[in-house]
Symmetry: C2
Subunit: 437 residues, 2 copies
């Protein structure tokens, strides 16, 4: 079905170059693509005439912009949201997270994934990159809910022989689907996976043309361990093993040297910056401005709901801007438009979509767009709509969400999900898992 | 009218000591006070029987907690929200803020104040401390909208002779009102107001028993200027002039020495910590954990919408927790409950309400409470309701707001305000002011 968003304030975003001007106009969608972007009422009328039965959504007083792209999360960990906060990392893992995960079934993970995707869609996230267990079970969840996803099958040395076959099964399942869901191989990190097993993952990724993702230089402890074991930084270690390339997504990249930064940029690695997680777990501050200056592809991720504790990309991209200004001492660092670019056009490149094919509003791009209601006290007046969205926009201001031309959220209602039933299911699973420990 | 909130998850908060357990129960309000806090259905039934015609609000699946207290803002600056971002401080002041303010009338300020209060009430802020011009004009606004306010009449050396008489007028206006609105004297800062004029403000405050508020050690530049002029830190300078005491609110306190911290604690000064503003303007990181350890009264403020850019206390208290964890390198720093205490019970003490009289849910306390809807994807499951509220709660989750026993927001609708008309008025004022420059 074709859709016409009329009378909208359109924020097109760009993959590179200057900030484009917003304009009042119409955006038409045909199939899974944006077919019209215009300020002309005549063009909009012609689009209507050419698409009988099209759906018209009046966006007067509303902003139409690309959907947000969350490039690192563990969406199914919604089951553990706020399960263990304000404690040290080791106590957190040993006493809470791992015992909980030991009792999770694939169905539990699918339930947690459902809750996570629902939260993201309602908050204007149209694409996400995930990294967790049982992603083969989650292909169906992402397909059903309509989000665009890159699902990374996470493994350690201890479970690689279970996970790699699951990844291959997931590849088959995804290939039979809409094309919106794709699979990636996700060794946990250079300090928890042996060089041999890192390479095994890379070989599987290459065999199927998949992305590879891993945590890179998240904490000082990681960097110390990798240096003690291999005599190199995490980036040097991964690069030497051939794991870094334009289909690699590195989460965090907090403790990276200038040389590491140059390597990440030269290899075309996607950096997923997760500022709220880095702050909450006291990991440090990623050198985003240095990475950007070096030409690295910087994007934004929320990380999991154990360390954030939500999947709110509006807060995340705002925190990214605030944190760079604070850490660099420069109030001009990571300005509003650039922060938003990290979370839209750059995130789309991380998902493997060439410039202009996603994360922007342009004719021919995939139709992943959101409508933000500007008629809220915290978004008035409108001196600068980009500043308002970046510094004041809330997940709850998102009214309508379209992914690949399909309306998945309208008037803040998510299609095909009974929320009270979902909450009951989640509560039941959580109670069972906690009782089993 | 009496109100009974039934079947609520109640988070009472405490002014000091350990975290109390939440419980399921009822809270009754009679007049402007909390008259019943109980887990007993029998007690709730007795309250109903004793108050014929009372309003019953069913809070099943919802959280009842104290309203948030914003201890530093410039609410009328909503008119300049996102007017000038991502530029240096001096360009910001000279090229944007001051020329804009030069053309603001008292009615413009009242309009900006209206928008700011509406935003705060909808976000669960029941009390705020303000600092701006024409506060005499704003007494009526705060009275009408029903929020609890401490309005600080801001002056520089250049306008003290206009502002102090306005402050006295504001005191008379407030005295004729409900008692919810009170006036304070607000010299801008120790670097922009002479010692003589700081003392004149203090004398006026003492004469009427008012609070005094000022910016303290916000930036390194301020500290340098004060040291060059007076050979002391800002705190030493203010203390020597007799300005520091339990009725003093100091905004920011970023660049304070250990000795300054001891002085702030010893004098009982309220510190208003404004983390998002400090980050966005690159002011530095306030030593909140040191201030708390020294026994200082730390509270949370949003600062104005030129430097935040909203008045969202949920985000602000969350950022406070994240920033302390990040800056101290300790993930246990400023845990969730303590962050929430800064924004409720501590803020209430800053407003001049003795322990237990405000900012907590206790029989006899002023009835400033909010209802938070927990049936949202980002607030499920509920392992720990405090963590969920602090790390995931949004202004938009606030459903109902009561100030002094009066329902001012219900089902996210604010009483007595036509929002579209307000936005049109604001847009008109802004257009006129910009055209006049």
């Amino acid at each position: 079905m074709a859709i016409l968003f009329s009378n909208a304030t359109v924020l097109p975003m760009t993959a590179s170059g200057d900030e484009p001007r917003t304009f009042t106009g119409a955006v038409g969608i045909d199939g899974d693509r944006i077919a019209l972007v215009t300020a002309s009422e005549t063009d909009a009328a012609a689009f209507r005439a050419a698409h009988p039965g099209l759906r018209v959504i009046d966006c007067r007083g509303k902003l139409l912009m690309p959907g947000l792209v969350n490039t690192h999360c563990h969406a199914a960990m919604t089951l553990q949201r706020s399960y263990a906060d304000d404690i040290s990392l080791m106590a957190w893992l040993h006493d809470y997270i791992w015992p909980f995960e030991a009792h999770q079934t694939p169905d539990d993970v699918a339930l947690g994934m459902t809750l996570g995707i629902v939260e993201m869609l309602l908050g204007g996230v149209t694409s996400f990159v995930d990294m967790y267990y049982f992603e083969n079970r989650c292909v169906e969840v992402a397909e059903r809910l309509g989000i665009r996803a890159l699902l990374g099958c996470n493994y350690f040395d201890t479970n690689i022989d279970e996970v790699l076959p699951q990844a291959e099964e997931a590849v088959r399942l995804a290939a039979a689907g809409s094309g919106r869901v794709r699979i990636a191989v996700a060794p946990h990190s250079p300090y928890t996976v042996s060089p041999e097993n890192l390479v095994r993952g890379k070989e599987l990724a290459d065999k199927h043309g998949l992305h590879l993702m891993t945590h890179i230089s998240e904490t000082q402890d990681e960097v110390r361990i990798v240096r003690e074991k291999y005599g190199r930084t995490s980036v040097e270690h991964l690069d030497r093993l051939g794991l870094l390339g334009p289909k690699t997504i590195g989460a965090h990249c907090v403790h990276v040297t200038d040389s590491d930064i140059a390597t990440l940029a030269a290899r075309g690695v996607t950096v997923s910056h997760n500022p709220q997680s880095n702050m909450k777990i006291s990991s440090g501050v990623a050198p985003v401005e240095k990475l950007r200056a070096a030409g690295a592809l910087v994007t934004i991720g929320t990380d999991g709901t154990c360390s954030n504790n939500d999947l709110d990309m509006f807060e995340e991209l705002r925190t990214a801007a605030f944190l760079q200004k604070s850490a660099t001492g420069d109030p001009v660092a990571l300005p509003a438009y650039e922060a938003l670019r990290l979370a839209t056009a750059n995130g789309a490149r991380a998902m493997g979509c060439a410039d202009g094919g996603l994360g922007v509003i342009r004719e021919g791009a995939l139709a992943d767009v959101i409508v933000v209601d500007l008629q809220k006290p915290h978004l008035q007046p409108v001196h600068n709509v980009v500043s308002n969205v970046v510094y004041c926009g809330k997940a709850s201001d998102v009214e309508t969400v379209v992914v690949g031309g399909r309306i998945v959220v309208e008037n803040r209602r998510i299609e095909g999900v009974d929320l009270p039933e979902l909450y009951r299911g989640v509560a039941g699973a959580v109670a069972r898992i906690k009782a089993a420990q």
